[in-house]
């Protein structure tokens, strides 16, 4: 496959991405309440290392500004049949010159363990490599979240290193694992 560059338009206007049981659609102001519940859930906060506190207006204002941006892509993850809010997933920090992006995903409290994370990660990676034209997608995951790490490995991410004591949580230091998936390694068994 020859990639000549990043397709900025594919970041600016993101299509819906459909998986077996999930639908990914542009994150906008309509999901602020659900995202706030996720942001305030203690376990989700721990797994995402979220120190900041947010209120509904802040979340809504942030979400409203996301559509149309060409330096990131943000989707809400919905159940395809019920429309249940399952979480959100993003390419933040898109680096056009190096054709790379950072990936992050956060699931709502009831969502983990049902395969939605794996499904959403695969959809977004496919989009990043095949449509946006990325060469590299990186992420960070905390040492106390081996379940997420397994999901990422299944989807093709490889551990590249460990940032020592890069996170402080509940007064303790934790390591942060750095992982990445490359376009040139697609199709390898995960």
């Amino acid at each position: 496959m020859i990639n000549v560059g990043v397709n900025i338009n594919a970041l600016r206007v993101q299509p819906d991405l459909r998986g077996d049981s999930i639908l990914l659609t542009q994150l906008d102001g309509t999901y602020a309440a659900q995202c706030l519940a996720r942001l305030n859930d203690p376990e989700t906060r721990r797994l995402t290392g979220t120190h900041d506190e947010f209120d509904l207006e802040q979340v809504r204002a942030w979400h409203r500004g996301l559509a149309g941006r060409d330096d990131r892509a943000d989707w809400v993850i919905l159940h395809a049949e019920t429309g249940e809010f399952l979480g959100d997933v993003s390419f933040n920090v898109v680096d056009v010159a190096n054709r790379s992006a950072q990936f992050r995903i956060a699931l709502a409290a009831a969502a983990p363990g049902r395969g939605y994370g794996t499904s959403a990660t695969r959809l977004v990676l496919d989009y990043g490599f095949d449509v946006v034209g990325l060469h590299r997608v990186g992420l960070e995951v905390f040492d106390y979240n081996p379940r997420a790490r397994r999901v990422y490995e299944k989807c093709g991410f490889v551990a590249e290193g460990v940032k020592r004591q890069a996170l402080r949580w509940d007064g303790e230091w934790h390591d942060v694992v750095v992982m990445a998936a490359l376009a040139t390694e697609r199709g390898r068994p995960g």
Partner: protein, 184 residues
């Protein structure tokens, strides 16, 4: 807790041969010429191009910031501008920051200025600001810089594969860090 006041008003850091002082408009000329140096551009992986007005503005707006520290590296004997030394991405929740240094031209390499400046910056980061961790990225094609960082206490933590695109080729990026308790 990070000593934010020491970011807003950065103390001068004095070594034997070099002085680190607040980067500001006085150093715009030096910054501008170091950005024209092809070797410097390659070693810092700078894809962006800047106008002179952008650099003037950048230099003039460095003082007083509480989210980063920008130092000019100056030779004590003659006041020559040798480069810049930066702590950015200050993370107050995790007491961490990123470090970068760039010397103002290849004629300054190998003379020990980078080592002395890095050590001064780390002393400031840990002893004055109260940071726990300082991280950096260095390109795999810059082993000389990696050697300097190791000498100053940085430890290799991983390799980001193909993280830099340069002259139509992919290059790896080495991640390093030093923690407050590490031997320096």
């Amino acid at each position: 807790m990070i000593a934010i006041e020491a970011l807003i008003v950065q103390p001068e850091l004095r070594g034997e041969r070099v002085l680190l002082t607040q980067l500001d408009g006085r150093f715009a000329d030096g910054l501008w010429s170091s950005l024209q140096d092809p070797e410097n551009i390659r070693l810092t992986g700078t894809h962006q191009t800047f106008t002179r007005a952008q650099i003037d503005d950048w230099a003039a707006t460095r003082p007083g910031r509480e989210d980063r520290a920008d130092y000019a590296l100056v030779r004590i004997s003659d006041g020559a501008f040798l480069g810049e030394v930066v702590l950015n991405d200050i993370d107050e929740d995790n007491d961490s920051a990123s470090f970068r240094i760039s010397l103002a031209g290849a004629h300054l390499f190998g003379l020990g200025y980078g080592t002395e400046a890095t050590r001064l910056a780390l002393d400031y980061a840990f002893d004055v600001l109260g940071l726990h961790r300082v991280g950096l990225e260095v390109f795999a094609h810059n082993p000389r810089a990696e050697r300097v960082y190791e000498k100053c206490g940085f430890v290799r933590e991983g390799v980001l594969r193909d993280a830099l695109r340069w002259e139509r080729e992919w290059h790896d990026v080495v991640r390093m860090s030093v923690l407050v308790g590490d031997r320096r």
